[in-house]
């Protein structure tokens, strides 16, 4: 058992505080939109191509509308206007709109306005039906080839070339991987567009593009069929294009996405407002598409000390959960992130790590949870490194993690060799097989080190939540309360892509996803 350690009422109180902390941010989200959310709307309408020099059409159109000062009415509205002007296809709509002089964008009669909205809403419903049928197709394959029991073993490929990634992903699946993550090219999170097409050059990873998603999912569908075991695919909905990536992923039937309400702010210095607004729409899409999100709290303890900052992970998890729930995500979709990162040269670290993982399990009993392996204190002694990873395997099975990223013995050296994944998968399978059910065999004493540490961390997390509640999220982030990183509300990248919505702002997808129209 992952303990009571803490009373149910205390956990309920933490959850309540988190809800109240995120509340004011929803006011910001309601009042504003962003260039990336508007581009997502256009992608929903099928505007997924690219123009000359590979600039995505969605960017061309949104930039044009922004320059004309009319984007605050919503890209969907202008898409409707283009259709009314006789555009026969999404591409034509883009051409018409981008060719239009700004003064031609004046108001219509109220009747015409209403017709336009009705037509665009109908098209939005059709687009969402199409998306739903793609999701249903994915779910059918999942049912046909059931997944292995949790923890789902998650490994990474990162060659930079999608076709090489496919070879490595297939090999990993054959070696027992349940989830394949394609690491993105370095700094893609700072691109204010989603690159187009299949890509074969990337630094430190492979560009997340809709076509790359399609290629990898197709390969994994084949592999699932061959192995009679469904292999999940994940990517990264983070950075300046959270909602666009979420759309591309949903459309190409991805199963998971890294998606965190604060990660971009803290670790990529993306503007706070931009991130809060983008994450909401991206999570609405994930909610619809049955995508499991993975949050990034594990990152806090790669910058801050894992022992000292353990409580910031817990506090942030409650906040991330609140954001997620407000976007319609269900418990089963919350791959709440944490990790095995305490300095292994301390005493009692297995107990401390168990305590932390049990505490997370206790606070989020119905979420799958996403468990990260050690990285920060990894050594180039691969034999020690391997032993270190195996301890994380044990904690993962003990605390019933839903998703476990496997540590690589060469973590401190280079991107994993093919054999590193094999070795990690083999030993994780062994530990999971050997220790499944261990939590039911042992009851953790309520007066021991594990329980006491869990109570200590939880009470510090409560203090931090109280502080955020009193001073607000913005102030807490400004003080470096999360991950030791300080950010200001108007700092960071992407603020110029935030716009206040006009009173007649129109986004039929958000309306439908929020259930305000059917």
């Amino acid at each position: 058992m992952s303990g009571p350690f803490i009373q149910d009422e205390q956990i309920a109180h933490a959850r309540k505080l988190a809800e109240e902390i995120v509340n004011p941010i929803f006011e910001l989200i309601r009042r504003n939109t962003t260039v990336s959310n508007e581009r997502t709307v256009l992608r929903f309408f099928g505007i997924s191509g690219a123009g000359t020099r590979g600039v995505p059409l969605a960017n061309l159109m949104v930039d044009k509308l922004k320059a004309a000062g009319v984007l605050n009415r919503g890209a969907a509205y202008w898409y409707g206007r283009a259709l009314q002007m006789g555009a026969k296809s999404p591409l034509e709509a883009v051409e018409r709109l981008t060719a239009l002089p700004t003064d031609k964008l004046g108001p219509l009669s109220p009747d015409m306005e209403q017709n336009l909205r009705a037509e665009v809403r109908a098209e939005a419903r059709a687009a969402l039906d199409d998306l739903r049928s793609r999701i249903a197709h994915r779910n059918a394959i999942r049912q046909q080839f059931p997944m292995s029991p949790a923890p789902h073993k998650y490994v990474i490929v990162a060659t930079g070339n999608i076709y090489d990634d496919v070879d490595q992903a297939r090999a990993a699946a054959q070696a027992g991987a349940d989830v394949i993550a394609v690491i993105r090219s370095t700094a893609q999170s700072l691109l204010d567009y989603v690159p187009h097409g299949a890509t074969t050059e990337g630094y430190g990873g492979t560009y997340a593009t809709q076509e790359n998603f399609r290629i990898m999912r197709e390969a994994l569908d084949e592999e699932s069929q061959k192995l009679k075991r469904y292999i999940q695919l994940t990517n990264y909905s983070s950075g300046l294009c959270m909602s666009e990536i979420a759309f591309c992923a949903a459309y190409e039937r991805l199963d998971m996405l890294l998606n965190d309400a604060m990660y971009g702010i803290l670790f990529r210095d993306i503007n706070m407002r931009r991130t809060f607004i983008d994450q909401y729409f991206s999570r609405r899409i994930c909610a619809l598409a049955g995508i499991i999100i993975n949050t990034g709290e594990d990152n806090y303890i790669t910058t801050a000390d894992a022992y000292e900052a353990a409580h910031t992970v817990i506090a942030s998890q409650f906040i991330n959960e609140s954001f997620a729930k407000r976007a319609g995500l269900k418990d089963w979709q919350l791959g709440i992130g944490h990790s095995y990162e305490i300095d292994p040269y301390r005493a009692d670290t297995l107990l401390l790590e168990l305590s932390q993982a049990m505490l997370v399990r206790r606070c989020f009993p119905n979420a799958p949870l996403k468990y990260m392996p050690p990285t920060k204190h990894k050594e180039t002694d691969i034999f020690f490194s391997h032993a270190y990873d195996v301890m994380a395997d044990l904690v993962a099975i003990w605390t019933r993690q839903g998703i476990q990223l496997l540590g690589m013995m060469t973590e401190a050296m280079h991107t994993p060799l093919l054999a590193d994944r094999y070795v990690a998968l083999k030993s994780a399978a062994y530990v999971h097989r050997a220790a499944r059910g261990i939590d039911e065999e042992f009851t953790v004493r309520e007066d021991g080190k594990i329980a006491n540490r869990a109570r200590e961390v939880f009470s510090k997390a409560m203090e931090l939540l109280e502080e955020c509640h009193k001073e607000g999220m913005v102030a807490a982030i400004g003080k470096g309360r999360f991950g030791d990183v300080k950010r200001s509300e108007l700092g960071g990248k992407g603020l110029d892509g935030v716009l206040e919505k006009a009173p007649d702002y129109f986004n039929p997808f958000l309306e439908i996803l929020e259930g305000t129209t059917s």
Binding site: A158, G160, R170, A171, A172, Q174, A175, T186, A187, S189, L190, G202, Y203, G204, G205, F267, R268, D269, T302, T303, A304, D305, D343, Y345, K376, H377, E379, T380, A412, M413, H414, T415, L417, L418, A419, Y422, V423, K426, D484
Partner: protein, 261 residues
């Protein structure tokens, strides 16, 4: 100096001079007897004898992973291995601060960043942040260092401009991502920029990262390179001695414990 006498050494497995080495590698072929024999032949071709393919495993349908033990007939004359002699002891936090106060007489200004497109602050943070790494305090904690950590994705030019504005004594460039040698390209670009701004040869320029070593850094034009496992105190010691050498307060040929080699 008197040439030392020969000291022949070989790898030690479980007997002196048995020359036993362990190897592991993967072939892109399915597991089979033929694959195992190919692995053995490959290892013999590298000059090993008594080759034992201890393990051959199916890493995937078309990949086989081998663990091999073999003997090498090679040896090394340890006496011939030339590594500079230690003359100065590596100093800890308190000693080094006192040493700076006494010898330099002012705070040493250090700038650091992970430059180019690299987003990873883990390396530069380990060296500069208060917290440090593996229980070894970062440079921000040293009262006699004035450390500025600019974080990640900092353009080389910007790092140089900011460092110049504060008359930095040393600049640390961290490079974590190494895909297709992007770290080398970016580091070269940094050195070009430093030369253009007249910093090269004046300010102490350091390179760090998981795939960096001292030799590579010197080749690229840096004063030193720091690889995986480097502690903040290693960097701090290097900077102090390098600065004293530049100021003519220390013998340019002096070596100390723990310096990069």
């Amino acid at each position: 100096m008197v040439k030392p006498t020969k000291q022949i050494i070989r790898p030690y497995g479980d007997r002196r001079d048995d020359g036993v080495v362990q190897l592991s590698f993967t072939f892109p072929v399915p597991l089979s007897e033929k694959a195992k024999e190919a692995a053995a032949q490959f290892v013999r071709k590298m000059g090993f004898s008594d080759v034992k393919v201890a393990s051959a495993e199916r890493a995937a349908d078309n990949y086989t992973f081998f663990i091999v033990y073999a003997r090498s007939g090679m040896y090394i004359d340890y006496a011939e291995v030339d590594v500079p002699e230690l003359v100065i002891k590596k100093m800890g936090f308190d000693d080094l601060n006192a040493f700076i106060q006494q010898k330099v007489g002012r705070r040493i200004v250090v700038f650091g960043a992970c430059t180019g497109t690299d987003t990873h602050t883990v390396g530069i943070d380990a060296i500069l942040n208060m917290k440090g790494y593996a229980g070894d305090y970062g440079l921000e904690r040293y009262p006699w260092f004035e450390a500025y950590n600019l974080g990640s994705q900092v353009p080389n030019e910007e790092l140089i401009t900011k460092a110049l504005a504060k008359s930095a004594d040393a600049i640390l460039v961290s490079q974590v991502v190494t895909q297709r040698d992007v770290h080398k390209d970016n580091s070269r670009q940094f050195i070009e920029a430093a030369k253009a701004r007249g910093l090269h040869g004046k300010t102490i320029l350091l390179l760090g990262g998981p795939r960096v070593d001292h030799k590579l850094a010197l080749e690229l034009g840096f004063d030193a390179g720091f690889g995986p496992g480097t502690k903040p105190s290693d960097v701090a010691n290097f900077i102090v001695h390098a600065l004293l050498k530049k100021l003519g307060k220390e013998d340019p040929n002096a070596h100390y414990q723990g310096e990069p080699t």
